[in-house]
Symmetry: D2
Subunit: 364 residues, 4 copies
């Protein structure tokens, strides 16, 4: 690794003439590279975003309180609490590209339908009773499920139960906002179908392993699957650990099972900007130190452990969320079997060929 | 559609000089295009292969008899009866590209391990008790299952039961033979693992819908799935028909459910030369007349119906196999609910951009 | 097009309890979506960046003056004046993704070698005498040439003449900065090869139309061509206009010839984040009004005309630069034959599936 | 390398019962695998096609004689002499996949227009004066030029000069014939445009290195370039040898320059079934022994040398053609500077994942 900052050579002497030149620059909306290059082009990524942990035990009560005080409906659209990276100064960007929020829906409430070019998913750390309606297809939300509402699909939510429910939303709002790519349209004020089927139509069509409907031979930009169910995720992870025990290659590393949620039409990421994965660490497993270009968010689904993010180590409990900005070294250790949901902007980095990873000694 | 044969214009007068010229051609291994073009380049495909139906009720007894008289072992390798297209003159090519055979294994028999660049699959119309061992991974074979042994994977079979078992093999042997692309290697004389697990390791790693192991992020030329189970195929087809009844798009055509077996790493065909599908027609459904470039083989899995192949109509019973050569018009009608397994050389046609399809009036 | 801002429905009443809740949010680094959604997720892109024109006649004298006052060398690295979008508040981002600068090199000066993950190109509106050395390959810079230094290639510049020379640099610095993807490394303080060949080695290997060296069969992320020469660009555009006159399809629209600079290993864009094109409008031609997701920068290479950017119309002279932020309607008219160089972030938009275009009436 | 033939183990005893079984097989169009497997699935490709050399000095006089005796016109379509591989028994297939012919057109003659799904090219070893008209675009043919008429493009030829002209045609006729994929349609009896421009419209649109017309942004299955000119090929090869002399990587191997003709929209092969290349060996250069899956045809364009094909070595003179069947070891040596045109079925082998190559010791 090189030094982080460029030497200050090559700088002109501060003279009245130079100040005159700089004044001329300002008048024409021109800025010199030579005074800014160290900040603009650092020797490795130096994110303003910082690693940070949000405690579920603190977040959930806030969401409950918002449930009492804040109505949900057209205009505000969603009762969602965005996690704002402390380094990114006052807006709800958890990283330069990603948005993560807790959404809360009271008994019998409906969040109205809309669509937007931003890609979105939901992940359910606990609870049940809500259906997300995606282009008219009602999708049950239950603990451990991962649900998709890719860009430009109409969607609303309704709670069909007598209990409140909370979950996390992940989107590419900061990326869209920063790069001016977003469109948004209102839909119905109520969801278009209040049915509460166990399986969505998308699952009945697409969730048969290795089988593709002949009515769906055109590849789609995002996955056509509305919900990835916990029963499958849990079984896949368990099978990897059992195969490892039986002596066969299956896990990502010893004691570390992991799956990626994918688009069955391509085998690739579920959406063009967001990668989602689920990781299971056996008790006592500790991951190698890594640095990656791009940012990631984890949520603890079950178990206890600790995360080392940069120089600090944080305890992890169920529901806790944390963000790892670009190129910050990190590792995770499991005190019990530890289940973690992860999402990141890796598809952006890979599609634009900025991805880099350093592991172990290279990540020091 | 143009006339099938070119006019005989442009032909030289038959003179002694011309005969002298033609003799000179022969001496130099040269042939005139102008006398052959009508055959070499017909106005549309004019296959020597013919449509043909093989009856399971006739084939199976022959396989049984072979089970009595023919040993299975190193050298002969497999007790397989290849279906030879009557138009292709004496070798076991069911079409210019495809091989289809019944393979038969007696109680406790083993077919030795080998590998070859030819791509192979098995489909089980009835029975159980055999395991195929693919690169050391034992894969159970049961009714309705579709099993893969893609090119250059070691594989052998053993019957762990006290009953004989038969199934069909599909390969690209004729294509490989014709184009001189095949390699072959002997493996162990016995299979390397006589375990009889319910699920193969490949399924435990890969058959969780929409989930990809992080240990398997590199795309593979052929599917890593060893067996596509009947329980999934049946459910997928059933769900399509139910969705159709509920008013939602899901089937290929009215009353016609269909799935393609795919490689989960790409969403594409299971092997580079062979496409495999399963079709279910509701009672009374008749497919539109079609012509397709390339050849297909069907096997009736369950039910009764009829197939119109070219000008002739054939009754279909369980287990019957039929081949449709390139550009021969065909349609299928269901007298009961009709379940059909299909395989074809469509990936060859599509990858080389020779694929064409005519449907309905265009196929007349 | 919908209304630009969401209605203010769905907002909670301002009560002490609500204020308490909001204070709790702040404490936990959490922000409500319902108060921000109109800004975060507008009905169509609402860029902070504004359309803006920089005059070559004003920029060039500033660059000259910088040439007198500011040394070039290690640390400052380049004597480059970045064009700062007036809407983006004080840094030299011409758009959220793109950087555009005038770089100036005095007689016999050398800009030292370095490399960075940011992708860069140069375009020469006038002058000659400088060579860019890319990974040791000296590349001549002359009027009309388009030169590449894709990410992570070492490069430096030296002026082999007795005259100063200026050109424009284009990079994805803002994108890299915003998303924390950049790496940077110093190279030699002097360029590694002071030779001044007419053609670079990259051109001698890669610039033979339709011919690919067998030593270069692996596709590359960015184009291996170091310089796209004006003689080819000019001839290609001229041929398009002649073909149009002869009655054949060739131009993009009537009177509008255009080429895209491409990577010969793929036929796609020259670099993963930047698209570059050259447009020639016949005298009197006016382009249709367009809106596009993503931002573009144009430089007038030759001729006179006008650009309508949003509601304002600007006169265009040789060397003038202008930026079109995302979704701002624009059109260009030619008073003489008008030659324009263009670059944009379109590859980002397309690879991430955010691209949209509206033309003519749809762009109103 | 394994033994070429399988052992004859596993064969049943010849008994009356077995003969009865085999008779039953015949009746049902069924063939046993166990008696055929050694032929059907050899241990490595064992082509029936043989290596063979055709002498230009012998072929050309035959073509001239055909010019006197055989008219050219509708029905016979082309005065083409197909080279028939002596191992492939009596038809004009130079290999299982490829067709190679000398075509001859007398002064002022026209070969009528037609189109077919077979992919075709022409290569000109000497002469000039003929124009090929492809979809109405007249394409000049001159020494060293490589011309395309991809599948389903109308094309005819006319000789605008007072001298005869001969060239070679390459097509995928055997592949199309064997696999029943071909369609054919007559076009105009005369060519649709008798203009004799120096450059075709396709070249004026597509032959500017690294520049793609904005009117041609959709990728095409085959190259849109009608002619690849000798001036470019020669210069590209020369530049590679010069770069090698200057100490830079550029050639395929020492003294061995080579280019592949490519589709500029993709960087890939010119047509989906045929690869075309041009090789230049410095005097004294000898290529390493190679074996490749798939078949190749070479024509000597200029110079003298020798080709070792399997066990035999053949002298090579200008215009000589030779074929290398699948997996036959070969090498070429140059007695003078040696220029060779090559075409092959490599795209078929690569797209279907049958490609293999052995070099040097591995090819023994």
């Amino acid at each position: 690794m090189n030094e982080n900052s460029a030497p200050h050579g090559g700088q002109p002497d501060d003279t009245p003439e130079l100040r005159g030149l700089y004044a001329g620059f300002e008048q024409l909306s021109v800025m010199p590279l030579w005074t800014q290059i160290g900040d603009l082009m650092p020797h490795h990524p130096k994110p303003r975003a910082v690693p940070h942990v949000w405690r579920w035990s603190e977040l959930y009560p806030l969401a409950q309180k918002a449930g009492e005080l804040v109505p949900v409906g057209r205009g505000g659209e969603r009762r969602a609490l965005g996690l704002g990276n402390p380094g990114l100064g006052g807006n709800a960007h958890i990283s330069p590209t990603l948005w993560a929020a807790i959404q809360y829906l009271g008994p019998r409430e409906t969040a109205p339908e809309h669509r937007h070019s931003q890609n979105a998913f939901r992940f359910v750390v606990e609870g049940e009773g809500v259906w997300t309606v995606v282009n008219g297809d009602p999708v049950r939300m239950s603990r451990g499920d991962f649900l998709l509402t890719p860009g430009w699909n109409f969607h609303g939510h309704h709670n069909a139960s007598d209990h409140p429910m909370a979950w996390i939303d992940g989107l590419d709002i900061p990326f869209s906002f920063q790069n001016d790519v977003g469109f948004f349209e209102f839909g119905a004020d109520r969801v278009t179908d209040y049915a509460t089927p166990d399986l969505s139509r998308s699952e009945r069509l697409w969730c048969h392993p290795g089988l593709r409907p002949l009515s769906g031979l055109s590849n789609t930009v995002s996955s056509p699957i509305g919900a990835y169910r916990w029963v499958h995720t849990d079984r896949a992870l368990n099978d990897q650990l059992l195969l490892e025990e039986e002596g066969h290659p299956a896990t990502l590393a010893e004691g570390h099972a992991a799956i990626r949620y994918v688009n069955p039409t391509t085998g690739g990421d579920v959406m063009p900007t967001i990668r989602a994965e689920f990781h299971r660490l056996r008790i006592g497993t500790k991951t190698q130190k890594r640095r990656e270009v791009g940012s990631s968010v984890f949520q603890v689904f079950e178990g206890r452990g600790e995360a080392t993010l940069g120089d600090a180590t944080h305890r992890l409990e169920k529901g806790d969320l944390f963000v790892i900005p670009s190129w910050v070294p990190w590792s995770i250790g499991a005190e019990t079997q530890l289940d973690l949901f992860r999402f990141s902007d890796a598809p952006i980095m890979e599609r634009l060929h900025f991805a880099r990873t350093a592991i172990g000694a290279d990540a020091e």
